[in-house]
Amino acid sequence: MTTLDSRSNPLGQDVQGSEPLWKRYLPGHHWRSGEEEFDACTLGFWLFLATEVLLFAGLFCAYTVLRYKHPEAFANGSSYLDWRWGALNTVVLLISSYTMAASIRAFQLNHQKQGRMLLATTFICGLAFLLIKFTFEYTPKLSGWFISFDPALHHYASLIDKEGMWGLFKHVEGYGGKAPGQFFSYAFSEDAWEPLWWSVYYCATGIHALHVIIGMSLIAWCFRRARMLAYGPSHYTMVENTGLYWHLVDLIWIFLFPLLYLIH
């Protein structure tokens, strides 16, 4: 893939040499200039983003139709989610979008160290998003196991029946089982169609989480290449497109957050 820019000079070369890698970059043989190649890669990437939007459009459409069919189940289901976790994750992603955009600017200005720091920050934000999602949301809802410092735990202090991993995890009786479709086993549900809500919730957030992981992989790749001085004012296609991808990941969450957490 052109955006994986490995066509440029071989990896692992001596970066102490006379010219940094980004200055030695040559566009593909079928391009007249590096600018044309950059324009084409960016255009191609915008088209790819359009396909991503349409992919999620299918999920949003399913959400709309099923919510219309079962408004009560969706309202009930949504009330199990804590908007504060969603809001925290929104903030985390917004910060990461800023650091991503700033890192592109840093490479355009040849501020190599700053660019790498910003890329690393973006990666850490992505990791934080996933950790919050898995530790405080997915795991307790699916299994009833809370991490011991989860602030929600004090509501259920009387219902803790088990401890695991030397007290790091605590199990709340009857809390888990909020799983999609046929795996649903939550005993206190108030609506027969709640399993469907969880199906939509896990499909939408799960596929989004997969995109976060893909985005983080791209950022890690950029970071590795940036350490070889592969990006600079005249060549930063890969960082640019990774940035576009990361903004899309952010944008989709901006839509998922109100739909899943805020509308009751």
Partner: protein
Amino acid sequence: MTTLDNSRAHELGGHGHHEGSYLTPKGGFLATVWDWATTVDHKKIGVMYMVAVLFMFFLGGLAALAVRTELLDPVRTVTVQAIDPATGKPMIDADGKPVMKTQIVGQTLARWIPPRDGSEITSIDYGNQLYNRAFTLHGAIMVFMVIIPSIPASLGNFFIPLMLGAKDVAFPRLNLLSWYIYVTGSIFAVASILLGGVDTGWTFYTPYSTTTDAEHANVVLMVLGAFILGFSSILTGLNFIVTVHKLRAPGMGWFDMPLFIWAMYSTSVIQVLATPVIGITLLLLCFERMFRIGIFDPALGGDPVLYQHFFWFYSHPVVYVMILPAFGVISEIIPVHSHKKIFGYRAVAFASLGVALVSFLVWGHHMFASSGELGATVFSALTFLVAIPTAVKVFNWIATLYKGSIALTTPMLYALMFLFLFSIGGLTGLPLGALATDLHLHDSYFVVAHFHYVMMGGTIITFVAGLHHWWPKMFGKMYSQFWANVGAWTVFVGFNLTFFTQFFLGTQGMPRRYASYVEEYHTLHVWSTVGSFVLLAGFLIHLFVFIHSLVAGRKAPANPWGGLTLEWEAASPPSEHNFDHEPIVTHGPYDFETTVPPHWNAKDYAMTKVPAGAHAH
């Protein structure tokens, strides 16, 4: 392909360049295979797609013949006198009365493929299930693995950069990735077939696709195969859009592009915008089947009609992914082989975009029976809009032929057949788009005949036409026009015999997807089956013509038909980098009245009106 002798290929074309053709082997056999497997050359990728698509066409064709063979005879239960296996004589009971037993006859597929556990066939169900599998495989293979990639991925890959005067597509390595994704998806589908196949119909409608064969993974494999193929389609379309935007030769404005490029551009837009929707749909379908998440399952609160909406939101636009490239090929063949400027260039170009636009608004006409009255009426009205840009194209092609210097070459013969068959296919679409007649005709053989006239009479016939048009350019060899024309006529007769009969079957009430039927339909079904074997014979003739051409064909000139588009300026077969120098566009793609075709040689083809300044080589 790789064993061709192309050592003299550099002599072709008369440009005096010294580079070998793209077919020149790189070293020994293994080195050549490795070279092809890792190539980023759009021409080699196009040829690999062509081989893969033709192989899948063969598989899908086998399934079609299985369907037609089963329908040779209606499956029915008859009561016959039992035969004593010991004596071989009819059995008689103690009272002297004959012993009767019921027996199933007419199950051809069941005789060929007995049950796996070796048990005797005692019910009609087994044969019916085999039949369901046969038509599902036929549909799924032909749609996802043959028709969708046929023209875009093979001819499109090969000729879009050549026609634009470019060295390659915008993202060559992404292009190779698309090919590998296509192969991976096809392997999933073939694995599903080898494990016993799928009986859901090619549309994978829920609940068939979520409930049948619950113990097998076949459906998941097939659906995942289609999901993976979708990525190949998206990436190819994306690549083409960027190529058209960014890699046109100097001097080539948007309205100087060949119409094939316009058609491929419109196709790519649909591929990029529609395919992601089927991607998420098939993914949800896999989740539904593996985890029973319930989005399409009414027992868990889901909505099976939602699946139909999703499916057709993709699959109707994709009908135009199938037919628009065919329009593009016809727009090339007709002007070149009648040596006349295309009539209404801009109208044809905009009609392609018009079809692409309308394609997104008509998916509901596949669901007249399952949607409300208001929705059905709106979708019916929108459906008729499709007829406008389509008819614009057909009329323009016919106007191009008028007073042209028509050469009845094999590609031209096929193009004329296309006009005939596609007109029938298009016009029979109108009664299906009108609500009143559709209620009578839907899910009948009329629908089957209609879409075969459009899909096969439109796309496959044109794919074969395009192969014959560009074969000399792709492989540097001519083929026997006589035998290719014999093949073309055989295909034409076989095609009409197979599918025209089905219009009658449909209007008489024969429903689609049934293994059995009442006696009254027998004659027409037999004719249809005979036609399908004539069709097979026609395609086999073409196969032999092509093989003969590769082995013993005459060396092709650079411009055998007198075309003006840029691919005819390259050598036959083209060199690795397509052109010696970047071409500069100085004339329109169809200015036959004023331009001498590149590499013109009076021996190759006749020009009735020779433009001023022309001199034969």
